[in-house]
Symmetry: C2
Subunit: 331 residues, 2 copies
């Protein structure tokens, strides 16, 4: 089999307890012993078996991040922020992709139940509020990026309603009065919150809310294009469009270009997320930036805090968003 702490102890001429002490940086061990042990560890190329260690300590120092898709650079950036911070405080981040299926998500959650990880962060989830609340009673769970209505679970996200308000207000201040909204029928709280922000902005600036300017389907790429076709067929076409995701905005934009419409001039388009692609396409896309690193860091920090608490923090923390103007809005 593989080499164990026992082998090291025997070779170094000390007890396993001493080796363990060296391994865990206890101060109650002589310099001589420390040296001997470290030498043999290096010589035998010993690496402690974490299954044994974790079993004994009842902790793994590993956090699992479950995301609906790995093709979303927003998530990638958030996970990066998580890893940065987690590494600093001695935790590892592992990720799993659920592909938005509850079966995969359930399966992955097993790592929480079977004690393979200390906690789970969900970047958008299939779970409903009740399930989440029950889950959070016994386990360390956090939501990031996407809250769940009615869930009293630690959450970190932008203020979606306010962010959408700011985005639409920006368009209005540019002179737009007919503003289309591309949303989704998903149960995602962010989608409805952004719709609410859109509506509030119109109201506050005294613009009539028209149902024909609200198009809702799904987050799939093609839906953006379909939305644009729909808007473009209206008698009074919108002069600006706000989409709840960059991908939808990009899809709409490309449909517009296909139709020979000058995006940024004939029509202004604004997305949400600030994924990398926004700067890679022509024209570049105006959008609402989510502070990915900060979100990742904060949710990990709060989750770890929760691990040592009996009464868990279940706040909904919001982080600052930022409007970024690029060519698609004529900037």
């Amino acid at each position: 089999m593989s080499i164990t702490i026992k082998d090291v102890a025997k070779e170094a001429g000390v007890s396993v307890a001493t080796v363990s002490r060296v391994l865990n940086g206890s101060c109650n061990v002589s310099d001589e012993s420390t040296k001997k042990v470290n030498e043999t560890i290096a010589r035998l190329n010993y690496s402690p078996n974490f299954l044994g260690r974790n079993l004994r300590k009842c902790e793994t120092n590993v956090i699992l991040v479950i995301m609906p898709t790995s093709e979303h650079s927003l998530y990638s950036k958030i996970v990066m922020g998580m890893q940065d911070y987690a590494g600093q405080v001695g935790y590892d981040i592992i990720t799993a992709v659920s592909y938005s299926t509850s079966t995969a998500e359930t399966r992955q959650m097993n790592m929480l139940f079977n004690r393979t990880v200390d906690g789970v962060i969900l970047l958008g989830t299939q779970y409903d509020a009740d399930s989440l609340n029950k889950l959070a009673e016994n386990y360390n769970v956090a939501l990031c990026c996407e809250g769940v209505k009615g869930a009293n679970v630690l959450t970190v996200a932008v203020d979606d309603e306010q962010a959408a308000f700011d985005a639409v207000a920006t368009l209005i201040k540019k002179g737009h009065k007919r503003i289309g909204f591309i949303g989704t029928n998903s149960s995602a709280i962010s989608s409805t919150a952004r719709e609410n922000g859109y509506i509030r902005a119109l109201k506050e600036y005294g613009i009539e809310i028209k149902n024909e300017y609200i198009y809702k389907e799904s987050y799939d790429y093609d839906c953006g294009g379909r939305a644009f076709e729909y808007f473009n067929a209206l008698a009074e076409k919108p002069t600006a469009i706000f989409a709840v995701s960059d991908l939808l905005a990009i899809s709409a934009m490309h449909k517009a270009i296909d139709m020979g419409i000058d995006v940024g001039k004939d029509v202004a388009i604004m997305g949400f997320d600030n994924i990398s692609m926004c700067e890679w396409i022509i024209p570049t896309l105006s959008t609402v930036e989510q502070p990915c690193s900060k979100m990742g860091e904060l949710v990990v920090a709060k989750l770890i805090e929760n691990m040592n608490k009996t009464t868990k923090d279940n706040h909904y923390y919001t982080v600052d968003h930022r409007i970024i103007l690029r060519e698609s809005t004529g900037d």
Copy 2:
């Protein structure tokens, strides 16, 4: 503490051994006991502690996938293929991102050394051949997508040389004689193999190889644009460009558009990978498709096979590529 197999046994009025047998689907247990045990498991909401189980069984049934970036949809698709297959054979896939740093990669490899996972699949790695060979002696390691020269380690990838040959041959058959190549200076075997394929294609079709048509920098997005600027400044500009990655091709394409050049007509551009973005941009990008699902499935299958072998399979398996023609080559 949390509920254990002992609690279940006591509650069900049987021994822990019987509970364990039920848990592991042993046939040597009476229907009555099975029923009683399953009932109490459900009632107590018991979930076995895998740290104990894994420690005992010396296996975790978990495979770690380390990738340089999670922003590459090629990798996402491959991991999806891995998960599909792994799930079927009772394995879990977890992922970690190294951000192309050897420190992160080394840290993540610890999960292999400390027995937290049964094997590791590297989607492009910082390790050199010697390190990999030594690693593969004692652990279950596989490379996917990107081989390492001189490494005798289980590898699954496309035939990069032949794929590049086919791509360039396709351009030649379309009548192109001045073909630019955008590569990288990275040590990645795929990059040089694709360059070799490019050169062989020119040779076989009797076209002179000119150094000025070969531009090499890095995989960063901007390099594609710089490459195009360079080509466009030549006295005899290439009429077609083959890039070793879709992102480089897209960057070059956008630079061309910026310069008012009609991609697909004035210049043909072909990428490599067939990432989702190829179909999302205008014009759509011709490219070489890598069979992601198949690659993921194959590498997991072979790696699991290796786990039960004393002499490990260290073959370099190639999977079929496919040329996809879209608007960027005038199709």
